[in-house]
């Protein structure tokens, strides 16, 4: 590290890195599991593969990040609900296909901005971000293509897309709360996110959702280990095999 860099200390010391890796890793892990739930249930085979591909990209990111925080398997399979640091947005159930696409749109736009920012820096997440930014660009494209088609599609598809965007809107505020050890300007990220979202929604002929961007829980709750009710059931399913057969391997 050069003298200049030491005087301009990043907002967090080295001890913040595992905690930050845990937060970002939990986002990727939990969303990966949610997308994986579509396997065998997607409306068409082609879309099932598309969602599984995105899930696998996220799982790859999660493995790198959780390994920066500790033992990846222990962290994924042996933690209790209150120890997870993911955003409440990513733990929300799939709902119908439009609901899943709304979740993808909100999160992928955010994650792409985040990885772009981190890839440009010199921090501990730069190497992962450089690879992940390409994966996430595709996730954004997938979500945008579907948002435009569903939003500007039939009466029913518009209604469902609208409902998905509205229902998840209150979880979007949390994405831009500062995370110690993640060296990005949340407010600037949020402005870009809103601008990009606005652009997509106008292409989809949809109005931006209204109302507060935080729910009954204050923003930042997921990052502090407070999760919504469906998350416990998701964790039970995700963890039961490992817990029933400790140490099992392929």
């Amino acid at each position: 590290m050069t003298a200049t860099e030491t005087t301009h200390a990043t907002p967090a010391g080295p001890s913040a890195v595992p905690a930050a890796a845990l937060a970002l890793g939990d986002d990727a892990l939990v969303l990966s599991h949610r997308l994986g739930e579509w396997a065998g249930h997607a409306p068409v085979l082609e879309e099932e593969v598309a969602l599984a591909n995105i899930a696998l990209d996220l799982l790859g990111q999660a493995r790198v990040l959780l390994s920066m925080a500790g033992d990846e398997d222990e962290l994924a399979f042996l933690r209790e609900e209150r120890s997870f640091r993911n955003l409440q947005l990513v733990e929300q159930p799939n709902g119908d296909f439009a609901h899943t696409i709304a979740r993808q749109l909100y999160f992928s736009l955010y994650q792409h901005l985040l990885w772009t920012e981190l890839a440009a820096g010199q921090g501990p997440f730069a190497p992962l971000a450089a690879k992940a930014v390409k994966e996430t660009a595709y996730h954004v494209d997938h979500a945008v293509q579907w948002t435009v088609r569903l939003g500007d599609g039939t009466e029913e598809s518009t209604r469902r897309m609208r409902a998905g965007l509205d229902a998840l809107w209150k979880y979007t505020g949390e994405m831009f709360r500062p995370v110690e050890g993640v060296d990005v300007d949340g407010a600037a990220l949020e402005q870009r996110w809103l601008a990009e979202l606005d652009d997509v929604l106008s292409r989809a002929r949809l109005d931006p959702p209204e109302g507060p961007r935080t729910g009954a829980w204050r923003a930042g709750a997921g990052r502090e280990g407070l999760h919504t009710e469906p998350f416990g059931r998701m964790l039970a399913e995700m963890q039961h095999l490992h817990r029933s057969h400790p140490g099992a391997s392929w």
Partner: protein, 94 residues
């Protein structure tokens, strides 16, 4: 739902210098989505650098009934094969 989506033929070029090769087919609502589905279905193991998608309905195929008039006459014309000269060393993709 699937019944309503048209069928597309997918052609993948595995690397520069080679031509696109038929990889398979898929269903998609439009060309843009067909391209993306093709990426997910046929290049997930790093098989490609370029993809074409073509509506299956746009392909005119020869019929098996016409096999003899179409293809048999070329069977006894060995002089059409490029086997009467040596290929210089170092020439690839032949």
């Amino acid at each position: 739902m699937t019944q309503n989506w048209p069928l597309w033929e997918v052609f993948v070029r595995s690397r520069r210098g080679l031509s696109h090769t038929h990889a398979g087919s898929l269903h998609a609502p439009d060309a843009e989505m067909a391209l993306r589905n093709a990426r997910d279905l046929y290049t997930r193991r790093n098989e490609g650098v370029s993809i074409w998608v073509v509506p299956s309905a746009q392909i005119t195929a020869s019929s098996p009934d016409e096999r003899d008039p179409f293809f048999a006459p070329s069977a006894d014309k060995p002089y059409r094969h490029p086997t009467f000269y040596e290929i210089p060393e170092g020439v690839r993709h032949l």
